[in-house]
């Protein structure tokens, strides 16, 4: 109780509120710019935070992190470009909504879902840290391999047309992931004698290329602006209260997405980029109208945006308890903590409890602050995009994209790679190979490779090293989940097919 009072009095301070508000706003714009990442924003902030007391520094970083993951949804909804990899699935539903003149509705829903996700992450962090931390270290190399395999089964549902073409896309992505220095063995692969290719294909570069460039080509080809004018109906549904009503009308989806977000968050190295896709996929599988997905299904948007913001506070579980940074931005936060002499572990919650709880609660406040900032900022960005004629909008987006790609690693070759991938992405799309499976293959390819080779190495002394892949209970559980996930689209369509003839018979029965 005493702790509660010290924590509260620390936070009820105009300067803290200013930090959170400023942090969320800055994070939002970083997140909305494709190419600028949360980790980059935190690194830039680092020198400033050393001038502040530890709590204020951490509060500012937490707020920027929260805002950046949420800000990614703006670009996803308004220009079909996930601003960060955490908003890939948001684009699947948000952009079709925006095209139909439902942009404000999509922004409203993304805002409310993100805020709820952020609060849920704080909730998990406050109440369930010890058991979640224990679960987190159960993931060894074998489990990583199987998690990646489980992730690849998403391809079946992410490629609406042909599953085969989906897997083709996934394979292209995995080959792209192999470019550069091999994570194990250290050899250069597919670099064709060019030193710059040692750096491989950065995931965000591919993301920008595969999502933005084809969209720009389409906009230019059809000579239309990105979005339709907002309908009056959408304006009504875009209000804060209406969005809350819609989001809470699907409690199952919300709870499921938050739990998925939390589980993915505690697996070090996975993070929001995987959480949003898994949550989206599960929302689609659970939906009564899976055929609406990809055409502006509200459930998918809510699932994606709530799950990715859970990962912000969620990934602090292994960070604060064990000192394990789950995602690149977490590494920056760990650095700040260590610089202030704060060592992750039990002490953090007892000896420096008022600081730690202050930081955790400030992330919850940041989630709440996203609502006003996001609704205002979102409307502003929307108005700019919709009012700009397409002959100005297309080149402006192209320019921003190129700048963002360059800024990511200060590399001109990344820009070239982005443009090449984007052009081929456009051609592949014409052939029916969608971008999403390619990007998924790229994200999961290196995780799968690392997990597989590390596990085989760990089994060096066994007679059959590959048996190492199946030894742990957790691996076995993930394998079962993977088989279920892979088989479920076929099972459900099989059941439907079995049912159908009966329905037909019933209908044909003559009325008596």
């Amino acid at each position: 109780m005493e702790l509660f009072w010290t924590v509260s009095t620390q936070l009820v301070d105009p300067f803290v509120f200013f930090l959170i508000l400023g942090g969320v706003t800055a994070g939002l714009f970083v997140g909305a710019m494709p190419g600028l990442t949360a980790a980059m924003a935190l690194a830039v902030l680092l020198p400033f935070t050393f001038k502040l007391p530890p709590l204020h520094g951490l509060v500012a970083l937490g707020a920027v992190y929260m805002g950046a993951i949420y800000g990614g949804s703006f670009a996803a909804i308004l220009v079909n470009t996930p601003g960060t990899p955490s908003s890939i699935a948001t684009a699947f539903e948000g952009y079709p909504m925006a095209k139909d003149g439902r942009a404000l509705e999509a922004i409203g829903l993304a805002t409310v879902s993100s805020a709820i996700g952020g609060l849920a992450g704080v909730f998990f962090l406050l109440l369930l840290s010890p058991p979640l931390a224990r679960l987190s270290i159960q993931f060894g190399s074998a489990e990583y391999f199987w998690v990646a395999m489980l992730g690849l089964t998403l391809i079946a549902s992410l490629s609406p047309g042909s599953t085969l073409k989906g897997f083709l896309g996934g394979s292209i992505g995995m080959i792209l992931a192999a470019v550069g220095v091999a994570p194990i063995g250290g050899e250069n692969r597919f670099t064709f004698g060019m030193p710059v290719l040692q750096g491989g294909v950065e995931m965000i570069v591919a993301l920008i290329g595969f999502f933005v460039i084809p969209e720009l080509f389409n906009m230019a080809a059809h000579g239309r602006a990105a979005l339709a004018e907002v309908t009056i109906e959408s304006k009504k549904r875009g209000t804060f209260l209406a969005a809350i009503r819609t989001v809470f009308s699907m409690p199952g989806n919300l709870i499921r997405s938050c739990i998925i977000g939390e589980i993915v968050a505690i697996i070090p190295g996975a993070g929001g980029s995987i959480a949003n896709l898994v949550a989206y996929n599960e929302a689609k599988r659970a939906s009564k109208h899976p055929e609406r997905f990809g055409k502006g299904a509200v459930e998918g948007l809510v699932a994606s945006e709530s799950s990715n913001n859970v990962t912000v506070a969620g990934s602090m579980v292994p960070l604060l308890t064990l000192g394990i940074p789950g995602a690149p931005p977490d590494a920056v936060i760990l650095g700040v903590m260590l610089m202030h002499g704060l060592r992750p572990g039990l002490d953090l919650f007892t000896v420096s409890g008022s600081l730690t709880y202050g930081f955790i609660i400030s992330m919850g406040l940041a989630a709440l602050f996203m609502v006003p900032v996001g609704l205002l900022g979102g409307r502003l960005i929307y108005r700019v995009i919709v009012k700009t004629p397409h002959y100005l909008l297309v080149p402006s987006i192209a320019l921003v994209t190129i700048l963002g790609t360059y800024a990511l690693r200060n590399s001109l070759s990344d820009v070239v790679i982005m443009l090449l991938l984007g052009t081929s992405g456009f051609l592949l799309k014409e052939l029916g190979v969608d971008s999403a499976p390619i990007v998924l293959g790229l994200i999961l390819g290196s995780i799968a490779e690392m997990g597989f080779v590390q596990t085989l190495l760990r089994g060096t002394s066994l007679e059959h090293p590959w048996t190492m892949l199946f030894q742990n209970r957790l691996s076995q559980i993930i394998i079962v989940l993977m088989v279920l996930s892979f088989a479920s689209p076929y099972l459900s369509s099989g059941i439907r097919r079995l049912k159908k003839p009966l329905d037909v018979l019933r209908e044909e029965e003559p009325p008596e």
Binding site: A39, M40, L42, A43, L46, P47, F50, K51, S136, I137, Q138, F139, G140, S141, G180, V181, P183, I184, G185, G186, E187, N188, T191, G193, M194, P195, V196, Q198, G199, G200, E202, P268, G269, P318, L322, G323, I324, P325, P328, P329, D330, A331, V332, L334, G335, L338, M339, G341, R343, P344, G345, R409, N410, S411, M450, Q454, L457, R458, T460, S461
Partner: protein
């Protein structure tokens, strides 16, 4: 007449060069980090940034150019950076020693930098989980002798400082281990705490951070590390193993001496101020500037040469 012209020209050259040095620095300096934001190199540079600005009086912009374990930035730096003191790059040992020798097309040379300073050293440490049956380095080595390749040792990357040190331990102690590379230091903590590996060969910061959850069997430094007073060195236990990662900063080859000296002075001042924060985290501060900086590269190259030769021989066999 000719001599007079030469004399006049060289005087003009020297004078103008002198003016240029006197004015240095008069515009922002770019400081490239060849690793991701949040890593040790980045965090150190971020700490230095405001202190360098204070000493030099101009803005210092930290830029990231990650990829290829640092090689992408280093190769581009050696190809394109102008030797005017306005573009600097963070450098790491043993990366800049190992990569050009072991990798085709790394695109740069170990001696292609003008070293300004090596500012700290993070020695390798052999780490086990607190409940491990290996209480001492002797337990570890005895078991490895009886059971070749059974002990799994995790570290960051192939041919990293951690990997080379594991190979050196194998060589010195006459044992066979199974080394398992990871991407950076991040994934190593869960791998050891979750019991997925028998041991880690990683930098001294990790045990300083994990505290009593792990035990350090030996540290690869000359003397015990301040942050880990209870961890014995390899030397104390009869193995001549000293190594780890050095972090430093370099300018392009051909940068005027005066500029290098000015920068070395600024980095030294910054390093002294940062020491208070970094020493408790397991860092060992170093102040190798000028000729000492290059000498350190040569010394470490010699000390790793046996292990690197072994790797190259092994590869040729295949």
């Amino acid at each position: 007449m000719k001599r007079a012209i030469v004399l006049a020209l060289s005087t003009i050259f020297i004078v103008s060069a002198g003016i240029a040095f006197a004015g240095y620095p008069d515009r922002p300096i770019t400081y490239i980090i060849s690793f991701n934001p949040g890593g040790e190199s980045d965090i150190t540079a971020r700490l230095q940034e405001p202190l360098l600005e204070e000493v030099l009086g101009v803005a210092v912009n930290v830029n990231h150019k990650p990829g290829g374990g640092g090689a992408v930035a280093w190769s581009e730096f050696q190809r394109t950076a102008k030797p005017d003191g306005y573009t600097l790059i963070g450098t790491n040992i043993p990366h800049i020693i190992g990569q050009p020798l072991l990798r085709k097309d790394s695109g740069y040379e170990t001696d292609g930098f003008n070293m300004i300073m090596w500012f700290h050293f993070t020695p390798n440490a052999l780490i086990v989980r607190a409940d491990s049956p290996f209480k001492t380095l002797k337990d570890f080595i005895d078991y490895a002798k009886a059971h070749p390749k059974v002990i799994t040792v995790g570290g960051s990357g192939t041919y990293s400082a951690n990997h080379l040190e594991t190979l050196r331990l194998e060589r010195e102690a006459g044992i066979k281990l199974t080394y398992i590379p990871h991407t950076g230091t991040g994934p190593l903590a869960p791998a050891i705490l979750g019991g997925h590996l028998s041991a880690l060969m990683n930098y001294s910061m990790l045990p300083a951070q994990l505290g009593d959850k792990v035990r350090v069997l030996a540290v690869a430094s000359e003397e015990r590390v301040e942050a880990l007073p209870n961890a014995p060195t390899f030397k104390e236990q009869g193995y001549d193993i000293v190594g780890g990662a050095f972090r430093g900063v370099a300018a392009p080859k051909g940068t005027p001496k005066e500029i290098i000296a000015k920068l070395a002075d600024a980095f030294t001042k910054a390093n002294k101020k940062i020491a208070g924060k970094q020493v408790p985290m397991g860092f060992v501060m170093t102040y190798a500037t000028g000729d000492d900086a290059q000498a350190l590269v040569d010394k470490m190259r010699k000390s790793y040469s046996d292990v690197i030769d072994d790797i190259i021989k092994e590869r040729e066999k295949k």
